[in-house]
Amino acid sequence: MKNIFFTFIMVGFISTLFGQDNYKGKISLILDEKKIEVSITKLIIRKGDNIEIEVFGEKVNGEEVETLMLYFSINGFIPQKISTSDLAIKIDYGLSPSKRTKFSLRSNFVQYFSQPKQLNFSDINTKIEVKEVNYTDSSLKIIGYFSGIYSVETANDITSGRTEIKDGKFEIIF
């Protein structure tokens, strides 16, 4: 199949778009007093009935790896509060499989795992909002904040506890 396209004429012009660089922004937050800050490695904007935004970030520091996924849905590039039914967050950090902390939120259900705790929450109060959207220097920038406090009490110490996301901030650059 190589050299099959022996005639290849392409004339292209572009007047536009987003950024000059490949910088995609960053996400930061505090989970259990642990500061997490990752650079965005992949960014997806999909438009169906709403605009869906999915962001993946990662930071590797020696043997420690922090990964984060954030998904939310908005009804336009304007500041707005985001419903938790249109929200998903996954956070994973730690040195080894046995020492990793995992936080997963989807719609109104949250799971938290950090040895020895294994917590499930269904009554959550996540707050997330897009605070600012601007289009400057050929880049679309979306800035927002998020936080949440989660606690559960059961008869078992392992399945009882509390966790909190503080100072969550995303800066998405397309």
């Binding site: 099959i4 396209f5 392409m10 012009f13 904007i45 590039f77 304007i78 050929s138």
Partner: protein, 180 residues
């Protein structure tokens, strides 16, 4: 009172059922004009930016589809060129009313690998010769929406045919207006 309630119900149905505008594509495919609303659009930014759209209409036994994907290394007003940097795909389907025409044009990174398949009725060609023009002329941010406009054209020839200069398949006046 019944009228007010009925009005409210109708308003709710109308508002709830309204699809968001994602733009449209129009093109002349082998001489026939096709205009379709975009049904899905996505932008993926990783090492490169990949734009994908799908526009389709399927009713009254007529099936029309335009699927298009293009990757950019960099999109900027300072760039006066377009580099196809990732997988490129164009699929046009026009079936029904006695027609059965399809174009599948796929090209991998750098244009080193790819394929063109054209179907017309019962005939199928695997072609090796093509010419294309791509011009993404505008990207605007208006009314809280990102708008991308471009013009494209494609011609696919069979060099082994008796009339090698006559295109087997033509996509002309292909304009894309994407609203995100």
């Amino acid at each position: 009172m019944k009228g007010i309630i009925l009005g409210l119900i109708l308003l709710t149905i109308t508002t709830g059922g309204k699809e968001s505008n994602k733009g449209k594509v129009s093109l002349i495919f082998n001489g026939e004009k096709i205009e379709l609303p975009i049904t899905t659009v996505s932008l993926i930014k990783e090492d490169v930016i990949v734009l994908s759209i799908r526009a389709e209409k399927n009713r009254d036994n007529i099936e029309q589809l335009v699927s298009f994907q293009i990757g950019f290394k960099k999109l900027s007003t300072e760039d006066k060129y377009l580099e196809i940097y990732d997988d490129f795909l164009l699929n046009v389907v026009n079936k029904g009313d006695g027609k059965n025409e399809e174009l599948l044009f796929r090209m991998e990174k750098g244009g080193a690998e790819g394929e063109v398949t054209v179907k017309k009725g019962n005939r199928t060609w695997n072609l090796a010769n093509f010419a294309m023009k791509i011009n993404f002329e505008k990207v605007l941010f208006e009314n809280s929406s990102l708008i991308i406009k471009g013009d494209l054209s494609f011609k696919f020839r069979d060099t082994k045919s008796e009339t090698p200069l006559e295109p087997i398949c033509k996509v002309e006046k292909f304009s894309i207006e994407i609203v995100i």
